[in-house]
């Protein structure tokens, strides 16, 4: 029973990873590409790791450290990329709200 749950989670995770790749190809500019590439791939990797924990329960400690690593590094790198994009190319969206104006 728990094996089937693991396989379903791995399949869901790979679907999210494929969607993130499609998003990287289809999106128009840097910020939206980062949006597709970070959030979907974080969720996909975490789902794959949880699926592997369901399949191999003895490896849970190493895999949870891996999940913690992905949870820290992926949003962090996205934030740093967005910030440096802003610092290099300036204000990109059309809404008129510029929160980082003072930190330039």
């Amino acid at each position: 029973m728990i094996d089937i749950l693991g396989y379903i989670l791995i399949l869901l995770g790979s679907i999210f990873l494929i969607l993130s790749g499609v998003g990287l190809l289809r999106m128009p500019d840097t910020i939206t590409r980062m949006h597709a590439g970070t959030k979907a791939s974080t969720l996909g990797s975490l789902l794959v790791i949880i699926g592997v924990i369901c399949l191999e329960p003895t490896l849970w400690f190493k895999l949870s450290i891996l999940a913690l690593f992905i949870l820290i590094t992926n949003p962090l790198s996205s934030s740093i990329l967005a910030r440096s994009t802003y610092l290099k190319h300036g204000f990109l969206n059309q809404s008129g709200i510029d929160d980082l104006k003072d930190n330039r």
């Binding site: 450290i65 913690l68 690593f69 820290i72 590094t73 962090l76 934030s79 740093i80």
Partner: protein, 231 residues
């Protein structure tokens, strides 16, 4: 010649189609050689190490490992000799971000833990002293990149760690010459294959190599980050 992403993709697709045609016509497959099983047979009789590469590197070819470590030491020595006068106390990365600093504080122990795991499981799983040492050095590299001027290492401590571990490596070899008449031979009890405390002298050698490699690569990166105004 102008080079764009599109041309890279087109050439990629064309070459994959060529590979597919070749696969159909020529029936490629992996060629397996017999050297691997030969080494595995010798390894099963001499050292109780689950990873055969480890016993090749430290036991059958221990003298070559000493040569590799010496080459690395000489390259770092040359760099420090050439750049010693141009060192500045400021880091070239002046990028300040409090989010990055806080996250790196959490990441640093994780990366060091991974490196220590690779080192002490060198005789059981892939990896070993060199790889684990470079992973620990990359953790220090992350600290240098993220906390530009808040993080600094004392060169005295790095040099002390490097020379002590190198001396320990040589002393281990000389000790084994005195005991069993072979450089870097095994004079400790072998233990059972697949356990953490097994393989005799191999984990000790790897611990010395890892301290040496991590200190060397860290001081290399530190030199490169801090030089200013080379005439």
């Amino acid at each position: 010649m102008k080079f764009s992403i599109r041309s890279i993709f087109i050439s990629l697709i064309v070459s994959i189609m060529i590979v597919l045609l070749l696969q159909i016509f020529l029936q490629f497959d992996l060629v397996t050689s017999s050297a691997g099983s030969f080494v595995l047979n010798i390894n099963a009789n001499s050292t109780e190490s689950a990873n055969a590469v480890t016993s090749v590197v430290t036991y059958f070819r221990g003298f070559d490992t000493l040569g590799e470590v010496t080459i690395l030491f000489l390259s770092i020595f040359g760099i420090s000799l050439g750049l010693e006068g141009y060192r500045d106390k400021f880091n070239i990365f002046a990028y300040e971000n409090s989010l990055l600093k806080i996250a790196v504080d959490t990441l640093f122990p994780l990366i060091v833990l991974f490196g220590v795991y690779i080192i002490i499981h060198g005789h059981l799983s892939p990896g070993g002293g060199f790889q684990g040492g470079v992973i620990i050095a990359s953790a220090f590299l992350l600290m240098f990149l993220a906390k530009s001027n808040d993080f600094s290492l004392k060169h005295n401590i790095l040099e002390l760690a490097e020379s002590l571990s190198g001396a320990g490596f040589i002393l281990l070899g000389v000790l084994s010459i005195l005991i069993i008449n072979r450089f870097l031979g095994n004079f400790l009890p072998l233990g059972k294959i697949g356990e953490l405390f097994s393989g005799g002298v191999i984990p000790l050698i790897y611990i010395f190599v890892s301290i040496k490699v991590s200190a060397e690569i860290t001081s290399l990166v530190e030199y490169f980050i801090r030089i200013k105004d080379v005439k």
